[in-house]
Subunit: 346 residues, 2 copies
């Protein structure tokens, strides 16, 4: 055991799995540690909502563009966003870590620091985990929350005529990534514009704040029977285009998106071409906004309550195609499809 | 896309993440697929119990000793055993998979086949997952269950005077592993003895069946207040010695274990030295039995209800040392410690 080494030089192999677990316990509430499993109290008449993510070094995060704190924040935010997208309030998360022996203990602690910074904003405890040896740093997160059974937001219940609402701007996260990858670009951006785009990429905010507002507008949007729900949707973690296409596929409907209605970061105006702005907004991904389909009147109320950066961006239509309409008609309408927005193995 | 290749030659990179997800959906109930998160109904007045495991190719499983079906079974069983160890009934599991592009689709399907064979025995659905590219095959499982708040089995509540019960034999899994690694050994074992030991390693059974029996003996073993509970314990996944030591550390007590009372596979008699038998039982691990501390009278009732292979193996004592007593006194008493049973990174 060499745990009296200065922390900045300590590697995981110096203190072992158990030593690292003990160091990380300060990030967890004391009452959930030390048993085979964690125990959480749920409220009665609530459904359990569960989501899981795997993140691999070099594939989903990298020290080149992302500090361990930001990697931790983003991993936590992505999972909380999935809960928000279902209309659920988070209860807790578990973290599985695969680590090479030569990873520095400080790196792991900084990762946990970033995760807990995000989690604490939403009062979400880390309730369990596992740390194992692995040739590649791997992070497996499972988040669970609770939702009222008649307030679960699904992808499959969009109705023809619904307005499509986005809860905020799109394209900022992708623009922030470009600024991190190519510090030489964006010279004509103001310092605070640049910082805001980079923050959008490094510290995305899960839109858990939207759920109470929805509950105010719709005290009970779904029947408990398998009947139409008044809200459907998902998050835009894989891009706005992907979200609309996934909702349409699951709901067996089409959609018209109005290009000019998609809220973009104002910084794009003096920096990016309209084509690139639109590409970032539709396919950039990781903006972690909610894309919600609901009756027009309710959509107008929601947008008004959410404020400036929320907008109605389109309408659910019969059929199965998702069409992007351009206001000025100089560009012909485009049919969107999933393959433009999808990641593949090869 | 090359998804019309014969299945046995298909690699993950041929069909991509999405193609693989579609193929694996047949292992999941249809109603939990397709949203950002899965929804499960919990009973009211139940606590949520959550456990998570990471498994890495070459560290926790290997094609050399383990078929993908067995790797899947064991991964599922280990997580269900953690729920049993808390007194919880399983509700579902999520599976995160990290896969190199050249892993065969058939390998992944066989892994899922093994997992579902185990899960179906206990009516546990796969309710979600994530599949990502990774340089090393990695499996992250999170299992969640529900338990009555006053029936949660913890490590930290063992009382001086409690009897220590094991729910079955120990050492079989490790012996099975040795037979797989060294097929030349065990010549004097009968075919069925050999097969039973190998099955103990390949297809361990989580002791979820013990929970209803405990509930029969103890309709309400814990106060809802933070008061002493009548049952404490954990599973013996890391070995019997580790389980007793962990319980004693968490409960701030000691224990005496009686070597002669530890139930061993009968096949050990004509095959292994007493020293090796004992080593396998104490440190072999992966027997996935429960190690429970409870008042003597209840312990006797439990052992009687569980049948032949369950036994009282010791007593909780004041102090903090765990002593292994040998009946014939030819071997001096031994003090057990965690470092004999622990895995380290280096």
């Amino acid at each position: 055991m060499m745990s009296n080494l200065p922390t900045e030089h300590l590697q995981v192999q110096d203190i072992g799995e158990q030593g690292l677990l003990e160091r990380l316990q300060r990030f967890c509430p004391p009452d959930v540690i030390g048993d085979d499993a964690a125990v959480l109290v749920t409220e009665s008449e609530q459904s359990l909502v569960v989501t899981t993510d795997m993140l691999v070094d070099g594939v989903h995060f990298s020290d080149v563009t992302t500090s361990p704190e930001d990697a931790g924040w983003r991993a936590a935010a992505a999972n909380l966003s999935d809960l928000a997208a279902m209309g659920a309030f988070p209860l807790g998360i578990t973290i599985g870590l695969g680590l090479p022996g030569d990873v520095s203990v400080q790196w792991v602690e900084r990762l946990y620091q970033g995760m807990t910074e995000c989690l604490q904003k939403y009062n979400v405890p880390i309730v369990g985990g596992d740390i194992v040896r692995s040739p590649i740093t791997t992070l497996a997160i499972t988040a669970f929350g609770q939702a009222t059974a008649n307030f679960i937001i699904r992808r499959s219940t969009a109705q023809v005529g619904d307005a499509i609402v986005v809860t905020g701007i799109h394209g900022a996260s992708r623009a922030g990534l470009e600024l991190l990858l190519h510090p030489e670009i964006g010279q004509n951006l103001k310092t605070d514009e640049k910082a805001a785009l980079i923050t959008a990429h490094q510290r995305p905010k899960p839109r858990l704040d939207v759920i109470p507002i929805l509950k105010e507008i719709f005290p009970s949007p779904c029947s408990l029977l398998p009947a139409p729900c008044l809200i459907s949707g998902m998050d835009s973690s894989d891009g706005l285009a992907d979200a609309v296409l996934q909702i349409c596929r699951a709901s067996k409907v089409g959609a018209i998106l109005e290009q000019s209605k998609i809220p973009l970061p104002s910084a794009f105006n003096n920096w990016l071409s309209p084509e690139r702005s639109l590409h970032y907004a539709l396919y950039g991904g990781e903006d972690f906004e909610l894309v919600l389909c609901l009756p027009l009147q309710a959509a107008l109320t929601l947008v008004q309550k959410l404020g400036a950066s929320a907008a109605i961006v389109g309408t659910i239509t019969p059929g199965s195609t998702v069409i992007l309409q351009h206001e000025n008609k100089k560009i012909p309408d485009q049919v969107l499809n999933l393959s433009q927005g999808f990641q593949h193995f090869n």
